[in-house]
């Protein structure tokens, strides 16, 4: 009889893990809380750094998970988790019991809820939006303000909910810088008449081809990068937004009017992940993400034998890293299943 594995989460990591496991002849139950798989990938229009369409990656993931060995359960959440040595069972919200020899947790991340930074006015001023809202606009091909006008000046705020002790997130979300650069370029493409300003603390261009993209944004697209964190946004009578920021390179305070303000929301441990960590007794770190068994060579292992992690439920990652991490998780699972004593 073939072994069974439950994968929790149908985002990039979960799909990749499920696909690779089924390829290796494992029976997989893939649990997804939404009505379709893909996770955050569905919210993104084009991906950095090459700006390919996100649907291409989705197609690949759908391709590898289109397999008889994968039982997909959408609109499903976990109500109860039991472990008995090497045997795991899960009861879903529909009262269904699933059993498995190993579990892969791929619960991913939640975007930082930008309304928590009230000073930026998300949810208060109409023309303050987040990076996901902007992706939605790109997908529709229409970038307009709440009154239907086309924005002329656009501000992009980096590090919203990342590297911010006041909201309790000390870590860097890694991807918002490059997202900002990508979106700034796209804005300039869509609206050639517009001016785009990015307000950053540090530019963290650590991935392949990120630095090149950053350079392109400045040289080709004339995006302005201003070093300094936006302290607050207010609304003027004509619906324009007034932002206050300290230009730390010039060493002076700056007040500026923009039509549209885009917040680069960071990544946080997902609510679903928090629920599962409590239910299963999985350890979390100070950053609230799952704590891995070893940072160097055990980043897929958890504190429970037979439960493995894949993807951004352990730390912020881009898609490339997420897929690699999910494959590594599969290799750990296979190794575990081979050696585990029944």
């Amino acid at each position: 009889m073939s072994k069974q594995v439950i994968v929790i989460g149908g985002g990039v990591a979960g799909l990749e893990a499920a696909g690779q496991l089924s390829k290796a002849g494992i029976e997989v139950s893939l649990i997804e809380k939404e009505n379709k798989t893909g996770g955050h990938l569905n919210d993104w229009y084009k991906l950095f750094p090459d700006r390919r369409n996100s649907s291409e990656v989705k197609e690949y993931l759908d391709g590898i998970t289109h397999h008889d060995g994968i039982k997909l359960l959408t609109n499903t959440t976990i109500e109860k988790f039991n472990s008995n040595k090497s045997h795991f069972s899960i009861i879903t919200n529909e009262g269904k019991e699933l059993t498995a020899d190993a579990v892969v947790v791929a619960t991913g991340f939640d975007l930082f809820k930008s309304a928590r930074k009230e000073e930026y006015g998300y949810g208060i001023y109409d023309n303050v939006i987040t990076s996901t809202d902007l992706e939605e606009m790109f997908r529709k091909g229409k970038i307009v303000l709440s009154n239907g006008n086309v924005p002329k000046t656009i501000g992009i705020v980096h590090c919203v909910g990342s590297r911010d002790e006041k909201v309790g997130n000390l870590y860097c979300s890694k991807l918002c810088c490059v997202t900002a650069v990508k979106q700034a370029i796209e804005l300039r493409e869509h609206l050639p008449e517009s001016k785009v300003f990015c307000f950053y603390m540090d530019m963290r261009m650590g991935g392949a081809f990120y630095e090149e993209l950053y350079r392109e944004a400045q040289e080709k697209w004339g995006v302005n990068f201003i070093r300094g964190k936006v302290s607050e946004a207010g609304e003027a009578i004509d619906n324009k937004l007034i932002i206050k920021v300290e230009d730390t390179l010039a060493g002076r305070p700056l007040k500026m009017e923009v039509d549209l303000l885009v917040l680069m929301a960071g990544m946080e441990m997902s609510e679903g992940g928090k629920k599962i960590s409590k239910m299963c007794g999985l350890n979390t770190g100070e950053n609230r993400f799952f704590a891995v068994a070893d940072h160097h060579y055990g980043s897929n292992r958890s504190n429970i034998k037979g439960v493995f992690y894949a993807g951004t439920c352990t730390a912020p990652m881009n898609i490339t890293e997420t897929i690699s991490h999910a494959r590594a998780a599969v290799s750990e699972v296979m190794d575990y299943l081979k050696n585990v004593r029944k």
Binding site: E118, E119, I124, E165, V167, G168, A233, G234, I242, K255
Partner: protein, 632 residues
Amino acid sequence: MQFDPFVIPFNIGLYFILIYSVVRSVIWFRDLSRPDKLRLQRGFFGTAFVQSLKEIFLESLIHRKILKTNFKLGYMHMSLAFGWFLLILFGTIEADIFGTKHLNAPYKAIFFRFFNPEHGGMGFEAVYGFFMDLILAFILSGLFLAVSKRFYSKVVGMRKTTRLKATDKIALISLWLIFPSRLLAESFTSGAHGNGSFLTGSLGSWLATFLPAQQMAYPFWWLYSLSLGTFFILLPITRYMHIPTELFLIFMRNSGIKTGDKSGTYSEVETHSCSSCGICIDACQLNFSVGITNIQSAYLMKAIRNNDDVSDIAHNCLMCGRCDLKCPVGIELSPIRMIQRRAGEPENDFRNIYKGYFRSRQSVALEKTNGSSAYDFLPENNPKKADVLFFAGCMTHLTPTIKNSMIKILEASGVNYNFIDEQGGVCCGRPLMLAGQDKEARELINYNSRMIWKSGAHTLVTSCPICYKVFKESYYLDVEVLHHTQFIKRMIDEGSIKMNFLHKKVVYHTPCDLGRGSGVYDEPKDVLKHVSRLEKSKFEDENSLCCGGSLGNMKISNQQKSKIARDAAAELTKGNPDILATACPLCKKTFSAVTETRVADISEIVAEAMMQPSVKKYILKQVNSIKELANI
């Protein structure tokens, strides 16, 4: 003449402390400012003196306030203070009545039984002896509590007790020895002579059954005298200095002297009046939320007395003022802390001399400032004329929902207002003040004052209690300063704004600077009662908690601040309210991050409850525009 060498230590101590008290009083009086000297003179010949006597009796002897807060702790203080007072008083009378002659030297009263061993056998003498034993028993019961408190502070219902330095310990031991040694000395003497009352008599006769009472008595009389002498000599450099100093404090306070913002006689008297009772430690959130137990006011007072470096202690405080209102001695703890935060300034620099028995002001020449302003870059501001000014302040700009609600309310109220820092303003100055940078704060105050004068307004409304406090206390303005809750209350009373009742359960958090800091307790609650179901919490009014977001403390980490916030929010939301209401943008911001309950400023709740602006306003607007057209 009745004399024995063992009385010498007592006599040395007694005369030392008497002379010391006179010298110190003269120095203190000399250091007072001229107006304060006049206040004291007026107080001496006025009602303040009588009041002070009453207060001294109630607080220094009976310890009424401690009794109210914590009965066992109060009893401990009362039995020692009031009991000792009674023992001295009736001891003196006893010596006077039954002694060989009238007007005896003090030692004859203290060691009465030694010099009159045959006294107290019968009749009135025995009744008097019974009474004296009763007082001694009263003191010993308190002493028992004090000793237990030292080893296990929960005995007297406290979570923490104060830690001591070496001289304090010696003084403490000598204090502890005074009464037991008196008990044993008197008991042995009584045992040897077969007299004494219920305590000394019974203990004495029992001890005499197996010990040579006559020989044992003498060493205990020595011990009694020695412990008294040691205690008196150490008194000025230990916390027991509070015993004589509190009398001065009460009299000075009743004469109308205040701490102010410079150190001087009064702040020194206050510092020495602290008995280290530890009530401030129990009141402090830094203690019960994050376990910091070395910076509370009792420790600050001690560090100032010892002339230690206090800057760490002085700055590690939320400045919430909870301890101020709980201090049974009535020391103005927060103002003293503020003085210490400004300690770099020469007029606040003292050092101890003569082993700490006296203090002297550092003779440092005042640093010359070049007179240039740190804020030259600020543009001149010429606000438009209005009756009412609205000053949102930095924190309200960071919580735009409050700002927008206030605009809605001001618009609806129909007053002629000007939002003076709509395009961003200059800080009110309080954060700088809290950091001890008064000169820089003064520049900002002057800048804002000019702007307010130019507007010609009669009322200034602020949304932030931090601004409110500083506008009220440190600005010299002839405008009425209102917090927005007071303004809203007035608008409701006048009928200028009309509201629907929101069927919501609300609990109110009193912000420190609005409540304890400025005494505004009722208006916010009245407004909330008007629009919602206001529930009570365990921490109301003076007893309200700090939200943890205080600007006053830059020593603790954000994690610690967040812990304080979480604990406070958890306390306030115990009754599962729909809204946790506050009246401060900083409290709102701090609480929103740590609780699932909706946190809202009162202005938001009012704006939500407000009906469409009444017709009155439109008519007024039209009338105004007609007036304008007609150039009236």
